[in-house]
């Protein structure tokens, strides 16, 4: 039996096609079958389910390219289910999950497990990345071909850099054989060893162990050389410095298959926000100088940075209620990704369509997904956004199991009012 849902009176924004107009959208059996400025304009549709969007933005559901969960092995921090609830509340309909779990996702059977668990428990789509090296040890490559067949959509050692250039070179060569996407983390592991802040005046005043910001650009530049040698498709999961951005821009100008993301917190916060040792703002890479933060905003606005990501990384009280240097790094972010990104619109850095594109069309292009668009035939992954609604972040009200948000108390404007995955409503706050 056909199930139809009619959305009317919406501001349709589809960054993939450039559409930004009032209109309607029709979903049938989980797929977008019609969309356009004139749809349902004059008359009420005859469909049983009609959603009056009352002028709110209807956009493709967000794709968050960088999410860490605790499943398997750390479910007390975050399960796929709890992360997916946070995602749904944040308008995120697909989460690309990193393999840094216990056990590490480095076996085809574990990808299969993750997909089954997601199907059984998660409210949004879970797209697993498999490890690029066994056990994330940076020594031997994983079974990239078999893992891809099992459903891995990318290969990454998550928040670990592969120190050994020979290992990375061969892994990239092998990845290029299968034309898979490799997602890298750019921090020279020896330079950043034990560091919890960016080297500079502020870290010196606080007496924190710190690493120079160039630890990022060094690895970005090395990785780009290896991409050039091997032809692998490469995505920097997140960058945070101007120097890294310039290296990526130069690589793109040379036509290399390189893309990059930036986290919402590196767009919104700088090193000074650590204030009096706020461990919830200890992240990896550490918060940077104001100049680097501003460069990230500029990079998003210019389109040189492809994707805005949450880098959602749940931590518990056990790992965060510690002195700054001993505390674990990471912030949750699935639920605040959209609101933080909308700040760029409100502050006049970029258009709404452009900012939404970094979380819809761009990730879909990078990962080769059918979602991230309002095009006819695409899965009906949708988010209804009130771009004006005040949103004061209150950790106690977050849907994720972990509450370690770097944005506690932050006043944002705009949030998801309803979220649909394959035409199913997974969050509704209308």
């Amino acid at each position: 039996m056909n199930r139809r849902i009619a959305f009317r009176n919406a501001r349709l924004i589809d960054p993939a096609s450039g559409l930004d107009a009032k209109g309607g959208l029709l979903v049938e059996n989980g797929v977008i079958v019609d969309v356009g400025p004139r749809l349902f304009n004059d008359a009420e549709p005859n469909d049983p389910e009609v959603i009056d969007c009352r002028g709110l933005v209807l956009a493709p559901g967000l794709i968050d390219c960088r999410v860490f969960t605790g499943e398997p092995g750390g479910e007390h921090r975050e399960s796929l289910e709890s992360a997916s609830m946070a995602a749904a509340a944040g308008g995120v309909t697909s989460m690309v999950v990193m393999p840094n779990t216990d056990p590490v996702i480095d076996e085809p059977s574990l990808v299969d497990f993750l997909l089954r668990r997601a199907a059984a428990t998660a409210k949004v789509r879970v797209l697993p990345c498999a490890a690029l090296t066994r056990g994330l040890l940076g020594e031997t490559m994983t079974e990239i071909g078999l893992l891809q067949e099992a459903g891995a959509i990318g290969f990454s050692d998550g928040d670990r850099s592969i120190a050994n250039a020979r290992v990375l070179r061969r892994a990239l060569s092998y990845a290029a054989t299968f034309n898979v996407l490799v997602i890298g983390h750019a921090e020279d592991p020896e330079l950043v060893l034990n560091a919890s802040a960016t080297e500079g005046e502020f870290a010196t005043r606080l007496g924190l162990p710190a690493a120079p910001a160039i630890a990022e650009a060094m690895m970005v530049e090395r990785d780009i050389r290896l991409v050039e040698l091997t032809g692998a498709r490469y995505h920097f999961g997140q960058i945070s410095t101007r120097a890294a951005l310039e290296a990526v821009a130069a690589a793109k100008a040379r036509g290399l298959p390189v893309t990059c993301g930036v986290s919402a917190h590196h767009l919104m916060l700088n090193e000074l926000d650590v204030g009096a040792y706020l461990t919830f703002r200890k992240v990896r890479p550490p918060l940077r100088s104001e100049a680097d933060r501003a460069a990230m905003v500029e990079g998003v606005a210019s389109g040189m940075i492809d994707a805005i990501v949450s880098s959602h990384e749940p931590q518990g009280a056990d790992t965060k209620r510690q002195p700054f240097a001993s505390a674990a790094a990471g912030t949750v972010g699935l639920e605040t990704l959209l609101a933080a990104a909308l700040s760029l619109v409100h502050e006049g850095h970029a258009s709404l369509s452009h900012v939404l594109g970094t979380m819809t069309a761009a990730p879909a292009r990078i990962f080769g997904l059918p979602t991230g668009t309002l095009a006819r035939g695409a899965p009906a992954d949708l988010v209804l956004i009130d771009t004006g609604e005040p949103f004061v972040v209150d950790a106690e009200k977050l849907h994720s199991r972990a509450r370690n948000t770097a944005f506690e108390g932050r006043k944002f404007q705009g949030r998801a009012r309803a979220t649909y995955v394959g035409g199913e409503c997974v969050f509704d706050a209308r």
Binding site: T133, R134, E139, T140, M141, T142, E143, I144, G145, L146, V167, R170, S173, Y174, A176, T177, T230, G231
Partner: protein, 315 residues
């Protein structure tokens, strides 16, 4: 007894590689080898062509197949054959290759067959020794007698090389067999393809005038000959290839992949095989498609032909 035609086939007194040979020389060697195929199948397999000559097999890498093939070839031609392997030689005690060469030279051998793990070792010995040197494999450089025996096997089955599509599959990067074969087969007019994951393809391989494939099904499409290479165990644990099971899934020759080759395509392997890694057992054992046993027989014949050809230049 001497060969019917006593004109020199090889200009050099050594056989160091396929590089440097002409199509004419290769054809002449294959023709000469045909007579030794006949001799090898006769009741009396022995002649006295090399009577009184000394052949030394000097193997720095262990090889049952090539070493015994040369030993048999030498003995069937009446030579005295001595086998030296690295484990019993003074090289194990720290002697340099040049010292070993001088020592051997003093024993006045006529022919030295050498296998060494380093590229260029046979070349080095040929410059230091007074005898003929045959390269039985140097590093990842050349293994000319293997390429010649493969050529003999192919020619006997398919009549020639012109226009044949030969897919060389597997660890091309470390393979001297692949390098010698692609040189010989390209020179003789065959179309050579290399099929491997990028980690096992040498840099600039396309410059050899070969076609490169990373998808085995595409690489085998329309192939007359599928030549499998051995994957060393230590290379399938994550450095070059993640695992044996993944390698077999994507690059192991099984019925499904072979079905993409030309109907009736023939399968070769220089041996020793890793069953279930680069080749499925049922293919290796299928006499309808597998030339593997025939390759071994042709190995003895071609080595007799080479010893014959070189002996004509011996003083």
């Amino acid at each position: 007894m001497t060969s019917p035609d006593a004109t020199p086939i090889l200009k050099s007194s050594h056989l160091l590689g396929i590089e440097g040979l002409s199509p004419f020389q290769i054809t002449a060697l294959l023709d000469l080898a045909e007579t030794y195929v006949v001799q090898g199948r006769a009741t009396d397999k022995k002649t006295a062509l090399l009577k009184g000559r000394t052949l030394i097999n000097l193997f720095f890498e262990s090889s049952t197949r090539t070493q015994s093939s040369f030993e048999l070839a030498g003995k069937r031609l009446g030579a005295d054959v001595m086998n030296m392997s690295v484990k019993t030689s003074s090289v194990a005690k720290g002697e340099t290759l040049i010292d070993t060469a001088s020592t051997l030279n003093a024993m006045r051998p006529d022919i030295l067959v050498v296998r060494h793990q380093d590229a260029g070792a046979a070349e080095l010995l040929s410059r230091k020794l007074d005898c003929s040197v045959i390269n039985a494999g140097d590093g990842a450089h050349e293994h000319p007698t293997q390429a010649l025996l493969d050529a003999l096997t192919i020619r006997r089955r398919l009549g020639g090389f012109e226009g044949l599509v030969v897919a060389i599959c597997g660890d091309v990067l470390h393979s001297r067999v692949a390098r010698s074969n692609l040189r010989l087969l390209s020179m003789m007019g065959a179309r050579v393809r290399l099929v491997a994951p990028r980690t096992l393809l040498p840099c600039d391989a396309e410059r050899f005038g070969v076609e490169i494939y990373t998808d085995m099904k595409a690489g085998l499409a329309g192939a007359d000959i599928v030549m499998m290479l051995r994957l060393q165990l230590e290379r399938m644990s994550g450095a070059f290839v993640p695992s044996a099971r993944e390698y077999f899934r994507f690059y192991g020759l099984d019925r499904a992949k072979l079905a993409h080759a030309k109907p009736g395509a023939l399968v070769m392997h220089p041996g020793p095989m890793n069953r279930g890694v680069e080749i499925a057992s049922d293919i290796a054992d299928d006499v309808q498609v597998s030339l593997i046993a025939e390759q071994v027989e042709m190995g003895v014949a071609i080595r007799m032909a080479i010893l014959d050809a070189l002996s004509r230049g011996l003083s």
